[in-house]
């Protein structure tokens, strides 16, 4: 018997999304899923190295939040960053090339899986250590407020979305940044992807208050608990939080209850989680669930969805081909980028 928190109810029917919006979310989720599946394949074929943390199972969170943002908003991620980068608009070919360590990668082959960056897409980065991305996202949000309030730039209303996991919420930077965000009413959204496990440490074994969304309350920040396997529920919560942030009313914490379908990284034997638990969550696959919803609500037909899947399959195929064919960074440029050039 798998003990789970009662998931918050969300009335999808009341979400009233357009067919266009539904397909946009679906396409982004398919991209996240197919891209990561291909990463696993490429890792086992020796095309990429190091620690590779895949996002399978959590797609509703990335798509639900990031696809609710504007392109000029900021996204800040963790070591599990491929799909956040994709949702933020970083082309799949540049993410794949980075994982292959190529010069055409979004970090020019210097970063790797846990250090994806794209200034062009306001993607502030993959941050490999726990919690260190939160203050960086806070800084982007501060910058937005600074431009508006100190420099009088009225169009400076960019919001920063900051992603991190359940394990990070026991880290000091989480609490320090909630405090400063609330204190200065910064336009930031803290998105906790609670997938129940910090590698092999069960969430309940590591924290005195497992309901993370409740931790926002002591800072006077709205804390929202969301079914992280339901993209529409995440999307709705994100929209509310973004509107609040943009209006200058301050931060929101969204706790998304989700699950990763693979081990912590591809190097993790994944021996701690029970088969029953994995099956129970697998049965709630956010992608199948949303696909069924789109069909039920007649927002899309089978051929349309099939065409999207084919398109994404082609995108990922092309990304691998691009990555394979791209050159390695030149050894002549080993020292480039240590300092900003004049």
């Amino acid at each position: 018997m798998v003990q789970e928190r009662t998931l918050p109810m969300f009335q999808a029917a009341s979400a009233q999304i357009s067919a266009e919006e539904g397909l946009r979310l679906f396409e982004d989720m398919v991209l996240g899923r197919y891209f990561e599946d291909r990463c696993a394949e490429m890792y086992y074929r020796g095309k990429m190295f190091g620690f590779v943390h895949l996002y399978n199972g959590q797609e509703a969170v990335s798509s639900g939040v990031i696809k609710s943002l504007r392109p000029d908003d900021y996204v800040c991620s963790t070591y599990r960053d491929h799909v956040h980068a994709l949702s933020a608009g970083v082309p799949a070919r540049n993410v794949m090339a980075e994982l292959f360590g190529k010069e055409t990668g979004c970090s020019r082959g210097r970063g790797g899986s846990m250090h994806l960056f794209s200034s062009e897409h306001n993607f502030l980065g993959g941050f490999a250590f726990i919690g260190e991305g939160i203050p960086v996202a806070l800084g982007a949000a501060f910058q937005s407020k600074y431009r508006r309030d100190a420099l009088g730039q009225n169009d400076a209303d960019q919001v920063a979305a900051c992603f991190f996991g359940d394990g990070t919420t026991n880290n000091g930077q989480f609490f320090e940044c909630l405090n400063m965000a609330a204190l200065w009413k910064l336009p930031i959204i803290f998105v906790v992807e609670n997938n129940k496990w910090a590698i092999g440490m069960a969430h309940e074994r590591s924290t005195s208050q497992p309901e993370i969304y409740r931790k926002a309350g002591v800072f006077g920040i709205p804390g929202v608990e969301v079914d992280g396997m339901d993209v529409l529920a995440v999307h709705a919560a994100a929209q509310t939080a973004i509107a609040r942030a943009r209006a200058g009313e301050g931060p929101t914490l969204i706790e998304c209850l989700t699950y990763r379908f693979r081990g912590h990284s591809l190097a993790d034997p994944d021996e701690m989680r029970s088969k029953e638990e994995k099956q129970a969550w697998q049965a709630r696959d956010p992608l199948s669930k949303f696909e069924a919803y789109l069909l039920e609500q007649k927002l899309a037909g089978e051929p349309e969805l099939k065409a999207i899947k084919q398109k994404i399959q082609d995108t990922v195929d092309e990304a691998v081909k691009f990555a394979e064919e791209s050159p390695d960074p030149s050894p002549d440029e080993l020292h480039r980028y240590v300092f900003a050039e004049e």
Partner: protein, 327 residues
């Protein structure tokens, strides 16, 4: 010319740069209403407002990370470390993000940021407040490290550091804030990558930085009386080291003593000596010597504390001993 305290020279630098560039802002503990623990930002919040002179909660790692995020997105933060030792709490943000992020991002982001504040051994402040973090941070790629030593260079260096597009750790010394000097009335900059030849001489090159510059100059007074002619170079830039200036001096003197306030093990001198051996071993007439602080936590007791750091008398003795070597 106006006689200016070192802390006010720094304040003038910040004031001028904030006036010149609206993306420059200050953040840290007690920098606003309180005016900074050494009054370097006194009353600036009244002139520039509370967002541009931002009092932060005591959360070093997070407000440092916040400054990095602000720098990545177009602002130019100046962090005041109330005491540079507190920045040990921000080591992760300074090393992993300020230092390495430009490289790991393949040049996607630059991080124009200054982290400044008092370091060094003061007067019986105890071990934790008497740190010399320049030695700990020198191994981090992507950081520039600067140490000022006079009101004149403090002002000109800080202005240059603020305009630099890289993260700069800017060390002031807790015992030098009340130094006074006549400063020019016109605007000036001092480059952060050049060592300063404080005294030209031909016998021996004394390399030093920060407060030890003043200990060295005290020693030089005695040495002059005894007929010696040392060259004194203030390193200014602790990373990268200005080997051009050092190399030229060694070609002249063929002897080097490094006088530093950091601890001996893996200190600034350790790196300089290794590099001198790599670059100009054949020029040397004697092994390079280093006078460093003892490898111990700085003791509270005043007498023990004075034995922990290098005193002028030791510098005099070291020079005489080196000059007595027959080659």
């Amino acid at each position: 010319m106006a006689e200016t305290f070192l802390f006010n020279a720094l304040r003038e630098a910040i004031d001028e740069e904030m006036g010149r560039d609206e993306t420059v802002f200050v953040l840290g503990e007690d920098v606003g209403h309180y005016g900074g623990s050494y009054k370097v930002t006194k009353d600036l919040y009244q002139k520039y407002g509370e967002l541009r002179v931002l009092d932060t909660p005591i959360a070093e790692n997070s407000f440092t990370g916040m400054a990095i995020g602000a720098a990545m997105t177009g602002l130019r933060p100046i962090i005041e470390g109330m005491n540079m030792g507190f920045l040990l709490l921000a080591f992760n943000q300074i090393a992993n993000n300020a230092g390495m992020l430009r490289y790991t991002s393949g040049g996607n982001y630059k991080i124009p940021m200054v982290i400044r504040g008092p370091g060094g051994v003061g007067r019986q402040l105890g071990a934790e407040h008497s740190q010399r973090l320049e030695a700990y941070f020198q191994a981090v790629p992507g950081l520039k490290i600067v140490a000022c030593s006079t009101p004149y260079n403090a002002k000109g260096l800080l202005k240059s550091a603020i305009r630099d597009d890289n993260p700069v750790l800017f060390f002031e010394h807790v015992l030098l804030y009340n130094l006074k000097e006549d400063l020019p009335n016109h605007e000036y900059l001092v480059p952060i990558d050049r060592a300063e030849i404080v005294r030209s001489g031909k016998d021996v090159t004394l390399l030093t930085y920060s407060r030890m510059r003043h200990h060295v100059m005290q020693a030089v007074k005695t040495l002059e009386k005894d007929g010696f002619d040392p060259e004194v170079i203030d390193l200014i830039s602790l990373k990268p080291i200005d080997f051009e200036t050092i190399g030229a001096s060694i070609q002249k003197t063929h002897r080097v003593i490094v006088v530093e306030e950091c601890m001996r093990t893996a200190g600034i001198a350790a790196e300089i000596i290794a590099s001198i051996n790599d670059r100009c071993f054949d020029e040397l007439d004697a092994p390079v010597l280093r006078l460093s602080s003892q490898d111990i936590p700085t003791p509270y007791n005043g007498k023990l504390e004075s034995f922990t750091i290098v005193q002028p008398k030791q510098i005099v003795e070291a020079v005489k001993k080196m000059m007595a070597l027959q080659v």
